[in-house]
Symmetry: C2
Subunit: 255 residues, 2 copies
Amino acid sequence: MDKPAPRTPAPRDRRSRPTRVADAIKDWLVERNMAPGDRLPGETELMARFGMAKGTIREAMRILQAQGLIETRTGPGGGSFVGEVTADRAKALLANYFYFQHLSVADIYQLRRVLEPELAASLAGRLTDDQLHDLESVVARYPEPAKSAEEERDQHVASLDFHRKLANFSGNPLLAFVVSFMGRILTDLTVYRRLYDPPNRELYEKGRAYQIDLIAALREGRGDDARAIMQAHMQTAEALMQAQEAQVLRRFIAE
Amino acid sequence: MDKPAPRTPAPRDRRSRPTRVADAIKDWLVERNMAPGDRLPGETELMARFGMAKGTIREAMRILQAQGLIETRTGPGGGSFVGEVTADRAKALLANYFYFQHLSVADIYQLRRVLEPELAASLAGRLTDDQLHDLESVVARYPEPAKSAEEERDQHVASLDFHRKLANFSGNPLLAFVVSFMGRILTDLTVYRRLYDPPNRELYEKGRAYQIDLIAALREGRGDDARAIMQAHMQTAEALMQAQEAQVLRRFIAE
DNA sequence: TAAGATTTGTTCGTATGTATC
DNA sequence: GGATACATACGAACAAATCTT
């Protein structure tokens, strides 16, 4: 004899249908090795395939959209398409996580101290002239010491921009991402740091000298020099942030 | 005279309503400094507040849910609640980004090489007895060299587990996250690496010795030693992965 | 310019599922 | 068990965007 049917017809998935649909579609993308730009089935087809109502399917699509995996367009030829997750979106999503942790300036610099020099060393002798000129143009953006606290703040943001450009030149997507992410957090932070200190001329000259020396070392392929310069630069930068009592901001960053 | 009304009544946001609602709620969370567990307004109230239909509100909630920012429960006392973004979810979301980049083993080790030693050094003399015992129990999990390729693979996964535990002991959430994320990727990778090589006894002894030495150094607060041990360990580990022609897997990791 | 076709976007009403009391 | 409060899901209709002719 067969056993009586179990009271629970199936150990059925407790998660909502949209969630399951979203996961099913994700698996489907991987199986078919879909690439950014590839088209997904339309709403009506998905409704038929999953036997679910339009609203349910749409909620599933929103989940995928929120994760950056798809984009949708209306009109003829429209629909849902695989969308490469952009670095900016990934940073925004990751920032949501750190919104609930509290990162200190010291935490960030514990990584920066070792990653930025590593990055600099790995780029030595590998940058094109265009890339080097790009870096030089950032340095040239503020040829004079700041006259006001606001101007000094702008220079600091520009300096962080320098580091993020450097990160993006890296052939290592993981290194590029982490360094760039830290730069992003520090930029947000800088905008809100206290502004009542007078501009510090000496600090300006020092930071500028670092960047110029670094570019030279990178151009001439002196990896160890580039590493050493960056190490020294990081020490100064950390001390500066600490002295300014900078606080890591609790907010969601925009994508 | 007033200028004639512009043809476009307002430079109105092109994004869909659910997206805008999700962002509005996000801002609202930050403004009110809501903490995990706090309750959000119910669907009906949100419908009234935003003047939108249920489906639209629900899509917005799905977006927030996908990002890990809220959780929902049905039933009386149910509703939507602020949900702390878990580390696992953040890793899954970030993995979506790297699905479209291609990470090599060398890329990951470029970071591991510097971050793991830094982590080890920063933990020296700061671990509790419980934490140290926890690490020892991982080492004790495989007291003998592997007899089969499968067993060797299990040992490798356990070893990565050791590193992830170490990461989570760090007081630095950023360092913990990055190291743990790399461990996650490498674990996935290890499961699929080639298995036709015979177990390597010498390699086993070496890895085990590293971990035991490291625990001793951590216990006795010898930070520089811990760093040096980990540096040497990383070199071996990288060489091992390269020799095995391990490939970073293209798939979405489960949350 | 205008009309029509296609596809997502949004609404409304209703019904069902689920957890608490 | 029944009442209650909430999210979940469905289905039909209409709106808006965008492409083609």
